[in-house]
């Protein structure tokens, strides 16, 4: 097995790590959820402002590795403006991408920029880094107040 670091640390990921998008709080009535990866100590908070059925705004703050930060940043850009159901569905598709279970080319293409994280599937111990933001988003959308963990 040979893995190429460049597949993991693509320029899109390095860019979003360095300059994360939507990296701030959202004021109430936006709801939020806290995510925690106890294995590595990564923590982040995701805010969602849902109006009717539309995710009007989404933002995050937190501390973690490049994969978790870039994943959160790309996620905020990807789900903004989507319906709640579409955002939830995207989270499931993303999980398939980073665990190497997304088969069709069309399905991959539908993920747009998120495809930059496909390389994570070659690094099983790093999947949690990429998933943390999405798990937290789902919790925020569900309005759950309890912190969620990747364990």
């Amino acid at each position: 097995m040979s893995r190429d670091l460049d597949d993991l640390y693509q320029s899109v990921i390095l860019d979003h790590n360095k300059t994360p998008r939507n990296f701030h709080e959202l004021p109430p009535p936006a709801s939020h959820a806290d995510g925690h990866n106890p294995l590595c100590g990564d923590r982040l908070t995701v805010w969602v402002d849902v109006e009717g059925d539309t995710v009007k705004d989404v933002a995050f703050l937190g501390n973690g590795c490049a994969i978790s930060k870039a994943s959160a940043s790309l996620m905020t850009a990807a789900v903004k403006g989507k319906s709640r159901a579409d955002a939830m569905a995207l989270a499931d598709e993303f999980q398939k991408l980073v665990t190497g279970r997304l088969e069709g080319a069309a399905e991959r293409k539908a993920l747009g920029k998120l495809q930059a994280l496909a390389g994570v599937s070659e690094y099983p111990v790093r999947v949690k880094c990429a998933s943390l933001a999405w798990h937290t988003l789902k919790a925020a959308l569900a309005g759950a107040g309890e912190p969620i963990t990747t364990e």
Binding site: R3, L8, G41, C129
Partner: protein
């Protein structure tokens, strides 16, 4: 079969180590990672195993396996003798006064839980204090929090300095007649600090407290002498001293162990059993309920003989050279902050690299075959003390080479380029 335990073949005439010869004793060091030689710098997490250990476990399972302290048959007698012989070797390894003070447990974690639940739970009263250094591993914090919750005792953290040394002045001020137990790590897994255990023990004894030393990181790297340290309990793990997982040692003073109730009940720890009540076996059996990790204990014996064969003087000198070189080269990498700069340090180099999260650094180094640990090292209070979420940690053993440190440093430069 090599008899490294008796013949110091791995030492040159000038008493320095023949590292190339030593490396041939460890089959796993020949591993290639994506075609690159493995550079194993995660020794504080677990150490690799020499052939004599692998062979001792194999031989026991293939030719000698039986339960101990039970059968009267040939195999059981032989297994019992071999098992009990390791207790004496462990006594010698720690310079303990008596073999019955050596309790075989699952590892350092279980040893500390045993002391907390048997000694702590029966002696602690509400308001009693348990002092632990801020640099303790979670395994020397959480068991005390559990027993504090059960007894009303209070856990207090002894501060550490910016260099990662115990603040002895603060420690002196915290000691009082309320102090019942002091827990201190001999060598910090997250910082590499070698703590002044003998001095801390002396001070604790002045107020009548007992001292438990977490020796998980010390036992593989320095000569441990529990009588010279003066402590009351000493805990260490087999897998960190080049032996198997699943076995560890708790040493305790006879008077304390005798007065403590059993922690777990079961076979081998009893004298007589009836439904009107049971009586317990004498030390050490009282604390060894159930069938122990027999093959692992046999492997541990081979590991202890192997280390003794090399000698801690030579090990210490070589590891000091590795640490000095690594400290010098890693510190020179732009953006590096060393976490843990104590005057007395063992072969642990914990650091952060500006702009590169330790986990990303771990993945980038792994691509060069370099195994380090990235994270909080089960020492979150240490991370909090130094204001970091995680560190990268390279930890050395006597089989590491100066060339391996060069590979590590090249990887750090590469990581800086990736994240430029």
């Amino acid at each position: 079969m090599a008899t490294a335990g008796t013949a110091p073949l791995t030492r040159r005439p000038d008493a320095t180590l023949d590292v190339a010869a030593i490396r041939r004793d460890f089959p796993i060091l020949g591993t290639r990672v994506d075609g690159k030689p493995l550079v194993y710098l995660d020794n504080a997490a677990t150490s690799q195993k020499p052939l004599v250990v692998i062979e001792a476990v194999r031989k026991f399972l293939a030719e000698e396996n039986a339960n101990i302290h039970r059968g009267v048959h040939f195999l059981s007698e032989r297994a019992t003798l071999a098992f009990d012989a390791v207790r004496d070797e462990a006594r010698d390894f720690l310079n303990a006064p008596a073999a019955h003070e050596v309790i075989f447990v699952r590892g350092t974690t279980e040893a500390i839980n045993l002391v907390a639940q048997s000694y702590g739970r029966t002696t602690l009263r509400p308001g009693d204090e348990i002092l632990l250094t801020t640099m303790e591993h979670h395994s020397n914090i959480v068991p005390w929090q559990l027993v504090a919750g059960q007894t009303g005792a209070v856990v207090r953290a002894i501060p550490i300095t910016d260099a990662g040394e115990v603040d002895l002045d603060a420690y002196r001020k915290m000691l009082s007649p309320r102090t019942r137990i002091v827990g201190v790590v001999h060598i910090s897994n997250a910082l590499g600090t070698i703590n002044p255990v003998a001095e801390m023990t002396r001070l604790a004894h002045e107020v009548g407290a007992v001292v438990l030393v977490d020796g998980a990181q010390a036992a593989p790297h320095m000569r441990v002498d529990v009588q010279a340290l003066g402590c009351d309990f000493y805990a260490c793990s087999g897998h960190k001293v080049f032996g198997p997982t699943g076995v560890g040692i708790l040493w305790g003073r006879t008077a304390l162990l005798d007065a403590m109730p059993p922690w777990q009940g079961g076979g081998d720890m009893i004298h007589t059993v009836s439904f009107s009540g049971s009586t317990y076996a004498a030390l050490p059996a009282k604390f060894e309920a159930g069938t122990p990790a027999i093959a692992e204990v046999i492997g541990l014996g081979a590991a202890l003989r192997y280390i003794r064969g090399i000698g801690f003087e030579a090990i210490g000198a070589w590891e000091h050279e590795l640490l000095s070189r690594a400290t010098e080269l890693v510190r020179a990498v732009p953006g590096v902050r060393l976490i843990g700069t104590a005057r007395e340090k063992a072969g642990v180099l914990s650091f952060t690299l500006e702009g590169v999260h330790p986990h990303d650094l771990g993945t980038i180094l792994d691509a060069d075959g370099v195994a380090i640990r990235a994270g909080h090292h089960c020492a979150q209070p240490v991370m909090e003390r130094f204001g970091v979420h995680a560190t990268a940690r390279a930890s050395f053993a006597f089989y590491n080479t100066l060339e391996e440190i060069d590979v590590l440093v090249r990887g750090l430069h590469r990581a800086r380029e990736v994240f430029a």
